[in-house]
């Protein structure tokens, strides 16, 4: 019984008994309180400044940000971006916020709703929220948001609604708990910029195994 042996050793080392109620209470308290630790001042800002911090930090992380006023501009902006970059194939999550857009009818763009496959050039997903502190976006896995879309395609296009912007990570956890009070989704991704590696002579190269480019469409009125 490895588990019992490990626990016995730990308790012997700590000189505590298995049923020490004081210790159990301390653990219960901490787990229940979910208290924040120090939150940097940088992340505690009024909304307007939070937005500029997010834009600044996301750009620093080498994400590319395209600012729009609302979702009605989204399809056009995505189509423009794809055509400028010579991409005519887009995989999206099966999410009505993304599929029911005013996509143009006279285009060569092929859109598919499915998880990603090797060879996909671009994907479009919805962020659950955005975190100003480090210019990070949060996504989770679910029926309408497969995780592979965030990692396999060469270019990852993410839609962020301004109203989902929070300052520190702690606020993002609160939102996540509100949305999923029972248990976490299988995968929660915090993404800050495109994939990279400095494993060859410490020289930074973009586009290791994940997306080479990360494009954030920020919807200011939503």
């Amino acid at each position: 019984m490895s588990k019992a042996e490990i626990f016995n050793r730990i308790r012997a080392g700590l000189h505590v008994a298995k049923d020490d109620e004081v210790r159990r209470q301390a653990v219960r308290n901490r787990l229940q309180a979910k208290a924040s630790n120090i939150i940097p001042k940088r992340a505690q800002l009024p909304t307007a400044e939070m937005m500029s911090l997010f834009l600044e930090m996301a750009t620093e992380s080498a994400a590319e940000v395209i600012e729009l006023s609302g979702r009605n501009e989204l399809a056009q902006a995505v189509e423009n971006w794809l055509s400028v970059n010579g991409i005519d194939h887009l995989v999206t999550a099966n999410d009505s916020n993304l599929t029911e857009l005013s996509w143009s009818t006279d285009t060569t763009l092929i859109r598919e709703r499915r998880p990603a496959q090797v060879g996909d050039e671009a994907s479009l997903t919805n962020a659950f929220c955005a975190i100003a502190e480090t210019g990070t976006v949060m996504l989770y896995s679910g029926e309408h948001s497969p995780t592979t879309l965030n990692f396999l395609p060469d270019c990852h296009l993410i839609v962020v609604s301004a109203s989902t912007l929070v300052g520190p990570y702690e606020d993002a956890w609160s939102r996540l708990r509100e949305k999923f009070p029972e248990s976490m989704p299988r995968t929660v991704n915090l993404i800050t910029g495109p994939s990279r590696s400095a494993d060859i002579e410490q020289r930074l190269q973009m586009g290791a195994h994940g997306p080479r480019r990360l494009i954030i469409f920020m919807l200011h009125d939503e």
């Binding site: 050793r9 700590l14 787990l31 120090i38 930090m57 896995s141 990692f151 994939s195 195994h209 997306p211």
Partner: protein
Amino acid sequence: MQVRSPEFKESARIALTDANLQKALGNLKAGFPAKRATAAARLPEFEALRDQARDLKNHIIEHLDLYLEEFERNVTANGGTVHWCRTAEDARQTILQICREQGAKTVTKGKSMVTEEIGLNEYLEKQGIEPVETDLGEYILQLRQDHPSHIVAPAIHLTLDDVADAFHEHHKRPRSEDPAVLMQEAREMLRKKFVSADVGITGANFLIAETGSTIICTNEGNGDLTQTLPKTHVVVSSIEKVVPTLEDMTLFLRLLARSATGQEFTVYNTLSTGPRRPGDTDGPENFHVVLVDNGRSEMVGSEFQEMLRCIRCSACMNHCPVYGAVGGQTYGWVYPGPMGSVLTPQMVGIEQAGLLPNASTFCGKCEEVCPVRIPLPKLMRHWRDKEYEKHLSPAAVRYGLKFWAFFAKRPGLYRLLSASSNRFLRLMAGKKGRATRLPLAGGWTDHRDIPAPSGKTFMQQWQEQNR
């Protein structure tokens, strides 16, 4: 992995004259320390976060069994399975068993030092299962049948030339010396492996008791492909990585990337909780967490307990003059640098690793930068004491210390001797003021000069000033 720590002195001698290695190590010294300093300076709360992280880790260790219990409960509630492994052998067998149940032929791997610690790759290969490292650095090492020399940047001991040669040989493509081209080659080669693997193995930076989640922090995205595409995801982690809540994990995340690479945040911080849910269209169907003890529970309550605070950021080795001079492989086992000099004797025995805690200048830089404030020099000294007690240190050291103690207890003689050795050193140094050779100290003077003492002994100065 074979323990080569007893050869430390010989390996160090070779490393110091290895021009290729010295060039590669130059990249490390030029990079990480300055980046960490900048990142720390940008966050005014950095020092306060370190204090809080130290205290939280102490709290966790004092309640380690209970947080682990809670973690297991929540992994199970979410449909995953926790496996407890006291030894490296237990862990290897457990992982093999999971692979066998899946009929696995190929296993992709994200970066994991614990799997290095338990020698997983060699073991799986012997059992006919192909492990494929997918982190770029680890992939390069696997092609070269090499091992990591650094816990964050595993291939830091190699130059661009080394990588170009390895890829040219294994990929059968024209040789390129462009890092971007080389990375693209690896990307293409590994895509096929990601989709064809039966099992994906990753490490974990933290285990979250509250939710039963594990988290990996990576820049490449290979860990995410490793754990999302195969049918089975196995997380291999050590027991001290548990944290109570997401908020507590956040405290360490704010310190980890800044201390390691000087980044504000790692590109991908990914939480995994159980297998895919009903309705999910991708993700693994099975989720296993293999918890490895391998000597850690013995550290609880010992003089090395504080080492369990380590979050594997690598700052201590990035700032260590000894590591910077000889590189990670000289340490002869999995964990190099100051943290390795404390951990390796625990895991492979002081008999084999006794030279490591001695390979220190005790400059204190490691403790100065450690995000969880581990007193590394003090812990190395504990090992030296233990080694001395066991009479494991070489006779010359033991007799040397006895010799010194004899004189130190006799102040008159001591003063006479130190004043005369001062004169002796000045004599050896001559006009340049630096001695290039000293009898009985070849290990030191082969690679550096010893400055001649300028002026009086400490005791002489002390007496003069307190007159």
